[in-house]
């Protein structure tokens, strides 16, 4: 049931020409800067861009094949689509919105159930309300529930969090995670926000300027492409497991192949896998392990290479922490002062760790 | 200096007033202007008459043609017409009674002739027997409530005894111009129209026609009257006199009017 698509769409000043393949399970994220063509790809997949040429297959089902003049209209593709701005029907209450898609699926073909979805997205208390009276976060939850209730073969999410403030985002993200885990509907998730992508994606496709750059498992892919190079947020993502909790200091220990990291106490079960992100600017290098520092996390690493950063005073140093890549941002002067070179053993002091 | 400026102004105003006076004198000497409301059926001959009149007298005529009933309403409500050339006798009489026109000035300037006409060359016979045959869907007349020609047409049909049989086929134009339009466009194969509409230079222009004998309907008298607005307008009085002149009457004759 994997998704394969080859798409070509020309617009004034923009051309989309991509080839992509997404695995049959889990969340496939489309990531890239604004204007990369991510949303357009999603619209093509949904059948909302009749001008697009190419071929789209979901499993053994062919949705579009321009060579054969075959184009399955959106309403027959059995998809669920979540729009950036929710796009609820303003004339229907929440219940009417939720029932709209569901009512159009014959009962024997329904694969998700009302109670389950209403509970999953916590929309029970909203059923009688009109869309105009909902908060942004509530609206987006209703939109997701509405899409899911139509028992789609594929869920397409177009930056569902982009229009929300930080608090609403934090409110929605857990629902999205549960969606991926509890319902076995494959999903294509478009976002330009790296933290969302890293938290949700099982498979990642990077896009830029209407083309796909690369595709693969998020961790390795991001290490390879150094996303946001030159940005303030240059950094690395690594996966770790909760190893211990320290109740005295309200800390949790994360274990990964290269060592351990202490972070503020997490309400997670032991052994749970989490992703953390370490920004290059939060990593400093020392030659000996300092114990007289306020910095809690120190990792033993080997210098792999150094590359120029955005500012001429800075260098970006790529490190290897026992197989896990890490980036550090240091001054050229420190590089010379510490006499660093590829292969040199150093201690990486990590000032802060963002748990995604 | 100040005194010079003052005299300068005075010189300017003096010259300005003189120029204006000369200009106005020239204008007045050139003749008066008269606003005339003329019934639609008489518009065509009136244009010819006005052209002669302007050349002969130096007066200027502004012609408005339309339905007599509409002119009545407008004149009652202060429209600045000096002369009304009506399609009937009643309207000028009403206006005189109501004080909107000068009683003694009313006279019949023309008598209209009714004609049963078809653009098809062999449709109407010279005796009007076509009415008896009745081989047509529609027969056009002017609205008898509004137009003297329409009233005359109904009188003709009644006196011949065809009215009741033909009522379902009658289509009414709001005025005689529209009745003509219905026939000319072929939507009604024949109709009662004004002789002036189908006559040119003393002859029926095209198609076939029966000129209805005047004994079959009351005469269609068209009266003219001097209106209150034109009471002091020399050109208006001159024009009314001119309508009785032979020159004007020969124009009327060529359009099928009598007097």
């Amino acid at each position: 049931m994997s998704l394969r698509a080859r798409l070509d769409l020309a617009r004034p000043g923009f051309r989309l020409a991509v080839e992509l393949e997404a695995p049959q399970r889990g969340v496939c994220a489309l990531h890239g800067p604004s204007g990369a063509g991510k949303s357009t790809v999603l619209r093509c997949l949904a059948g909302l861009e009749p001008a697009a040429r190419g071929r789209i297959d979901l499993g053994d089902r062919c949705w579009q094949d321009s060579a054969r003049h075959h184009f399955l209209p959106a309403h027959r593709r059995e998809i669920g689509y979540v729009f950036q701005d929710a796009n609820l029907f303003p004339h229907l209450p929440v219940r009417g919105n939720l029932e709209y898609g569901m009512a159009r699926v014959p009962i024997p073909h329904r694969r998700v159930f009302w109670d389950q979805v209403v509970e999953l997205f916590g929309v029970g208390p909203l059923l009688a309300r009109m869309p105009a009276g909902l908060s942004g976060g509530e609206r987006q939850r209703v939109a997701m529930a509405r899409a899911v209730l139509s028992s789609p073969r594929l869920l397409l999410m177009d930056e569902p969090l982009a229009a929300l403030d930080t608090r609403s985002k934090a409110e929605i993200l857990p629902y999205l995670e549960r969606l991926g885990k509890e319902l076995t509907i494959p999903m294509v998730y478009v976002s330009h926000a790296l933290d969302e992508v890293l938290r949700l994606a099982d498979h990642l496709i990077l896009m830029e300027g209407g083309r796909t750059l690369d595709a693969g498992v998020p961790g390795t892919l991001l290490a390879r492409h150094d996303p946001g190079a030159g940005d303030e947020d240059a950094g690395m993502v690594l996966e770790a497991r909760i190893g211990a909790h320290d109740d005295t200091y309200h800390l949790s220990r994360l274990d990964f192949s290269g060592g351990t990291l202490w972070v503020a106490r997490r309400e997670s079960v032991m052994g749970q896998l989490v992703r953390v992100r370490i920004l290059a600017r939060d990593v400093s290098l020392v030659l000996t392990p300092h114990t007289d520092s306020s910095i809690l996390n120190r990792l033993q690493a080997v210098v792999v290479e150094a590359s120029p950063a955005h500012h001429p005073a800075q260098l970006r140093v790529r490190l290897d922490v026992d197989g896990t890549p890490l980036l550090a941002s240091i001054t050229r002067r420190s590089w010379d002062h510490l006499d660093l070179a590829p292969g040199r053993r150093v201690w990486a002091q990590v000032k802060s760790v963002a748990v995604l | 200096m100040e005194r010079d400026g003052y005299t300068g102004h005075r010189a300017f105003w003096f010259r300005f007033a003189m120029t204006l006076a000369v200009f106005l004198t020239v204008l007045v000497a050139h003749g008066d202007e008269v606003n005339v409301a003329v019934a639609a059926n008489f518009a065509a001959p009136m244009k010819r008459i006005v052209a002669d009149f302007e050349r002969d007298t130096g007066h200027k005529v502004q012609l408005s043609s339309g339905a007599t009933g509409k002119f009545y309403a407008q004149i009652r409500n202060g429209a600045p017409f000096d002369v009304l050339l009506a399609a009937d006798e009643e309207t000028p009489a009403h206006l005189a009674q109501e004080g909107a026109a000068i009683t003694g000035s009313r006279f019949t300037y023309a008598i209209g002739r009714l004609v049963l006409w078809s653009p098809r060359s062999d449709f109407v016979d010279v005796d009007g027997k076509v009415l008896q045959r009745g081989n047509f869907d529609h027969i056009a007349i002017a609205n008898p409530r509004l137009a003297p020609y329409g009233m005359a047409a109904v009188e003709v049909l009644r006196s011949l005894g065809y009215y009741d049989a033909l009522v379902p086929r009658i289509v009414e134009g709001e005025n005689i111009a529209q009745a003509y339009q219905f026939v000319a466009s072929g939507n009604a194969p024949l109709g009662f129209v004004a002789l002036s509409q189908v006559m040119k230079d003393g002859r029926i222009r095209e198609g076939s026609a029966w000129i209805v004998p005047e004994t079959l309907h009351r005469p269609i008298r068209q009266d003219a009257i001097l209106l209150g607005h034109g009471i002091n307008n020399v050109a208006a009085r001159t024009l009314l006199a001119y309508l009785r002149d032979n020159k004007a009457r020969s124009v009327m004759q060529s359009f099928g009017y009598a007097w």
Partner: protein, 225 residues
């Protein structure tokens, strides 16, 4: 002879029948036309839109005159209707219906077009991804969301047909019960200098139009005007 009051009554009934029928037909014909105009990128959009709007700028008598010629025995429409065995249309109720359709078309199409254009594609796309086909989308999304536009179109189409005069005058023939509608009847009364009867009908018409429009404006801001 009919009593005078009955004549007015016949004209009123005829007018309501004409306006009602024309409004229904215009909604049926005007909706797809307005939809096409609101969404097409075809080069025909300009010419078609202009033809629809022509009655807004042309004097009704001009329109009526051309219709009289076109529907006459020598006109293209007249030839067609004769060939099809319908006879000629002028001086018939059917002819009046057809003339009114053309005459009132912009008053129905333009509010609908504005409503469709302002609706945008977003709700339709949402419905399409939720399994709704085109017809389904129209009735469950477009219709409820553009109801104010439909209301405006219905009211303007109806009242404008009631108020239509020049076209009817040109090709009606003033036949009681067939083509003598209220506006023509009022004109007759005025022309015949029977101002009292004209006042009665005219006042009724003013009050009717005022009430309908007041109701419309109270409910919403109309899409046109």
């Amino acid at each position: 002879m009919m009593s005078l009051g009955t004549e007015d009554g016949v004209a009123i009934l005829l007018t309501l029948k004409l306006a009602g029928l024309v409004t229904v037909l215009l909604l049926i014909v005007g909706t797809p036309l307005a939809w096409w105009l609101a969404h097409t990128r075809s080069a025909w959009k300009g010419p078609v839109g202009a033809v629809v709007a022509l009655p807004l700028v042309l004097p009704p008598t001009v329109l009526g005159f051309y219709m009289l010629l076109a529907m006459g025995p020598a006109g293209p429409v007249g030839r067609m209707t004769q060939a099809l065995g319908f006879g000629l249309l002028p001086f018939t109720f059917t002819g009046l219906v057809i003339a009114s359709l053309l005459y009132s078309l912009p008053f129905v199409v333009q509010p609908l077009q504005a409503a469709f254009a302002s609706l945008g594609n977003a709700p339709l796309e949402a419905a399409a991804t939720l399994r709704a086909g085109p017809v389904d989308r129209f009735f469950t999304v477009v219709l409820p969301l553009t109801r104010p536009g439909f209301l405006t179109a219905t009211v303007l189409g109806f009242t404008h047909t009631v108020g239509e005069f020049g076209v009817v005058l040109m090709m009606g023939g003033n036949i009681p019960g067939q083509t003598r509608v209220i506006s023509v009847q009022i004109y007759d009364h005025v022309e015949a200098m029977e101002y009292a009867r004209a006042h009665g009908l005219a006042a009724a018409m003013v009050i009717f139009s005022f009430l309908v429009l007041a109701l419309l404006y109270r409910r919403q801001r109309p899409a046109l005007l």
